[in-house]
Symmetry: C2
Subunit: 307 residues, 2 copies
């Protein structure tokens, strides 16, 4: 056992740093009872945050869209994230920031504006959305029958916890023996999966959906890498039929990076292995990490003593 009480992860709740196992929210916090919360997840690779500013920008925008204003300003949020990672001592970490509506300051109020918003953050050991061995063989993807919630009802670019449609798709996938799922919207356009953006490759071109999806930071990284590598890439509408005709498919997310897919429903792609362009992007993505691309070193604890 480690002597560090934060070795399993460090969290920040209601202004205090606590061991991860103690981090909780009240059962009547609106973040839970109305899923009235926004969040973001940044990862730490070999002691450095990846694209920390981009995640903080997106988190700020999501809070603003949902009128969530915890007491911590941007610099304070950034300092909290650094301290969570530093306390944990983790070199590779999954780092979450959450803004929750909280509870009404006025007892009995049902008005969002009356609530005391608060920030939750935590750093825990790295998680892959798709396990590493599955990434190696290529994920088996199920095209779910549950339609994605429309953008007009719930803005998918505001990162949120309302996963019911994604969870329904995931349960369908598991029932059918697949690893994970992708959802289409009611009009039949491909959107995203539970926790990841999706990409397809056709005739050497890389495509990712323009709707029903989070504007993922890994998605943006992939688009940037395509430009640097001279691979044509586009954000565009993708029909179910076009998707089913892809040469390659891969998923992209902070918690896993670029994750190749080898099967879509009954269709086996390539040699039932990750496709060449998917692998090139995956390898480049991690190589660029090692080179310090978009890297912000985690501040050592001793530098934060005065905070």
């Amino acid at each position: 056992m480690s002597a560090n009480p934060f070795a399993e992860g460090a969290a920040y709740v209601k202004g205090r740093f606590v061991p991860f196992a103690e981090a909780s929210i009240p059962v009547t916090d609106w973040g839970f009872t109305r899923s009235d919360a926004v969040y973001d997840v940044v990862h730490v690779f070999q002691g450095g945050f990846f694209r920390l500013d981009d995640h903080l920008d997106r988190f700020a925008r999501a809070m603003e869209r949902r009128r969530l204003a915890p007491p911590e300003d941007r610099a304070a949020i950034e300092a909290v994230l650094h301290r969570c990672v530093a306390l944990s001592g983790l070199q590779d970490a999954y780092v979450a920031m959450v803004a929750s509506r909280g509870k009404p300051k006025v007892a009995g109020s049902r008005r969002p504006a009356d609530c005391e918003n608060h920030l939750i953050a935590y750093a825990i050991p790295w998680i892959d959305v798709i396990p590493k061995d599955v990434q190696e063989r290529g994920a088996h993807l199920w095209l779910a029958s549950t339609p994605r919630v429309p953008d007009a009802s719930v803005d998918p670019t505001v990162k949120n916890y309302q996963w019911s449609d994604l969870t329904s798709g995931l349960m369908e996938a598991h029932d059918e023996g697949y690893d994970t799922a992708v959802l289409c919207d009611a009009a039949g356009y491909v959107t995203e999966g539970p926790g990841f953006n999706i990409f397809m490759v056709k005739d050497g071109r890389v495509l990712t959906p323009d709707r029903g999806s989070l504007q993922g930071i890994t998605r943006r990284s992939v688009l940037e890498l395509c430009e640097q590598l001279g691979i044509p890439a586009e954000v565009a509408p993708i029909t179910r039929a076009e998707f089913e005709d892809a040469d390659e498919i891969f998923a992209a997310t902070t918690a896993g990076g670029v994750m190749p897919v080898s099967r879509l429903g009954k269709r086996i792609m390539g040699n039932d292995r990750p496709g060449p362009l998917s692998l090139q992007l995956k390898d480049t993505y991690w190589r660029r990490h090692a080179e310090g691309w978009h890297r912000t070193p985690v501040r050592p604890l001793e530098d934060m003593a005065a905070e």
Copy 2:
């Protein structure tokens, strides 16, 4: 100050009864991070539950639909609810039961089936969704522009915490100076509001939407009362235009009962006061409570000593 540590409410979390203020869930419980939970709310009026079996039936169905199976069976859940109320000593209470996905038993798993589901319950002092003084004058209702999430994406008959569209509508309503909101679906049919079903009265007939809504227990009570009172009532599609042409409107929910509306947008109904049929149903609803309609007395603590 009361000597009873449960006077502010009593809760049940992970098999233990705790004072309400201590009831919380971990920040990585999927009930929070994926809004992967179902719930129900029953009320206690003058020491008796109202329609407890109907709420337990609906809760059981919701759990089954989302494949949630906490360790407590139905009899145990019922006993937990009785004990929460008895511990609190409350005569009038808001009593919630929640089934949450929990966390994976297998570290790192992303499979709902791998999670340890758990039950949360609590009894707290009575809450009105619409404050009593607003109910007296009649609520001012806003027809929100945000479309309700479609039934095909998230089943509204499975009571859930995914309130983002409802919260968007509520914020619109407050911005415009209204008390609360009702949402239409994308096709323009009236659905429900944040925490309540909606009814309209036209030419002596009572109507409530057939889609986009919870099958509320108070809604069912209203339909039963209409039958007993000889008032024609129907569950039917209601267009926005039909709704805007209503003679009367009222909301119905466990946390408030029958709650009359006096304004819909800029339109003032009747004399800017609750309508006569709405008031008749409201009065009958509470009179029948006092007469013991659908009543289950809360079990005294001493009868539960052996549990």
